[in-house]
């Protein structure tokens, strides 16, 4: 019987390329968050004065904007799949979302079976995509818009920029929360996760995986 996982069997959650892209996204985002914070939060402003943080912020911005391009370049199918998935929800997803509080509190049993991404992850990714777009556009306006826009325009851009970041940061907190609760870090660092746990959270996806290496490995 193959439906049941062995404790020594692991499934490939993330291959090297998405992991690298994630690392790029994470590092650039944290750079932007921290440098941005020094610009906005007075206890940190001595760090920012002088312009170093400002310039690091520009560097972070370039890396951040490069993330989708890099992803498309190194793993086009995965990138497209991620985007497609994030904006497509089936009946199970909706049911899942109705019971999201249970998942939030650590319960997977009884939740509808989920694909590679559960509905929460889809929503998260969709939010990241949308607010990354708004933060990039508003950021570019602030960076290059001087002289073209009046004070009002620049202020609106700044407000959009900061509210976008606020939402992205809240999303990040949720992201870290679920990573912690569901021990998900290993998947993003090493790539493989125990099959049993994968089956618990993403049954439909595990079912769809080819039953061979590298998607499925035995570890002793």
């Amino acid at each position: 019987m193959t439906t049941n996982a062995s404790p020594t069997r692991k499934v490939l959650r993330y291959s090297v390329k998405p992991r690298l892209v994630h690392a790029l996204l994470a590092s650039s985002f944290l750079t932007l968050l921290l440098t941005g914070l020094t610009l906005l939060w007075s206890p940190l402003s001595p760090l920012a004065a002088g312009g170093l943080m400002r310039h690091l912020h520009y560097v972070g911005a370039v890396l951040f904007m490069a993330v989708p391009i890099v992803y498309l370049m190194v793993d086009r199918p995965a990138a497209k799949e991620l985007l497609w998935d994030s904006f497509h929800y089936d009946r199970d997803d909706w049911t899942w979302l109705k019971h999201v509080y249970a998942y939030f509190l650590g319960h997977c049993e009884g939740m509808p079976p989920q694909g590679r991404l559960n509905a929460g992850q889809k929503l998260h990714h969709a939010g990241v995509v949308i607010f990354s777009a708004s933060i990039v556009i508003s950021g570019l306006v602030m960076w290059f818009g001087k002289g073209m826009l009046n004070a009002n325009g620049l202020a609106v851009a700044a407000i959009i920029h900061n509210l976008s970041m606020l939402i992205l940061t809240v999303l990040l907190i949720g992201h870290l929360y679920f990573t912690f609760v569901y021990d998900a870090l290993a998947g993003m660092v090493q790539g493989y996760i125990p099959e049993a746990e994968a089956r618990l959270e993403h049954a439909k996806w595990v079912e769809s995986l080819p039953q061979k290496e590298p998607w499925l490995v035995e570890e002793n």
Binding site: L39, A49, G51, A151, A158, N162, L163, E197
Partner: protein, 260 residues
């Protein structure tokens, strides 16, 4: 509360730049940095000419855009003037973008502008520019006194210039630099009715409280929930393993049987 103001009499100003130099030396401004910029404004065609002096500086708006957008509180209002505590400044340059008069500039990565000679005035002196002005085009004092003097001067000036007027009484909630203009503001490159976009006020009224509230709530809520949720998940995983090993035991035995 007493508020203070400058009087800037553009009728009297003859463009000698004494104020510029006094400001630069008294405030120890770096080379290339000026809080006051003097330039000539000419209208008409030879020989029917009119000219006045533009005295560009921080006008210390009551509704100060720079203060409204400053995320760190480095820019703030005090005694009716717009002060700057550069040690609090992060150099985000929102003030540079927001000022309707294009006044604050970044110097060495920090905002930089006239602070009304805060230290000098606190020590009992007059702002450097006021103290030195040979044309007596500058005064500093309680806003009411300054306003009365401005009206007195504008009235006297109307004998020569029929459009002479006071500027800054109401503009932007009242400027901390009350100007006596020899002509209509538009003629002197000043907006008749400058506006601070309402959106600027959302910075301190909406964005900052929302950020603090939402982030604080998220962290506190997820922090608490994490303890419970992780325990629940661990239990589920443990349960899963127990189930699996039971099923495995059951499934494996026939295989062994086949082998033997």
């Amino acid at each position: 509360m007493t508020t203070y103001a400058f009087l800037l009499d553009l009728g009297r100003c003859i463009g000698c730049q004494a104020c510029v130099a006094a400001c630069k030396t008294g405030n120890e401004l770096s080379p290339g940095v000026q809080y006051i910029h003097i330039s000539e404004q000419t209208r008409g065609v030879f020989p029917a000419l009119q000219s006045s002096i533009k005295n560009h500086r921080c006008y210390h708006c009551a509704d100060a855009a720079c203060v409204a957008v400053c995320p760190t509180g480095a820019l703030y209002k005090e005694d009716g003037l717009t002060r700057l505590d550069a040690s609090q400044c992060s150099g985000c340059a929102y003030c540079v973008d927001a000022c309707p008069f294009n006044v604050p500039q970044l110097v060495n990565g920090r905002s930089n502008k006239c602070d009304g000679c805060a230290e000098v005035v606190k020590a009992g002196g007059q702002p450097w520019c006021v103290k030195t002005c040979p044309s007596n085009a500058l005064m500093y004092g309680e806003r009411e006194t300054i306003m009365a003097e401005a009206h007195r001067r504008a009235e006297a000036l109307r004998v020569r210039y029929p459009h002479a007027q006071v500027y800054g009484e109401t503009q932007l909630g009242g400027l901390g630099v009350v100007m006596v203009l020899p002509d209509q503001p538009e003629q002197l490159d000043l907006p008749a009715n400058p506006q601070i976009p309402a959106v600027l006020n959302t910075w301190q009224n909406v964005v900052q409280p929302a950020s603090v509230g939402l982030l604080g709530f998220s962290l506190a809520f997820t922090g608490l929930a994490a303890i419970i949720a992780r325990r629940n998940h661990k239990q589920e995983v443990a349960h899963l393993h127990v189930q699996n090993s039971a099923e495995e035991t059951a499934a494996v035995q026939p295989d062994h049987a086949n082998e033997t």
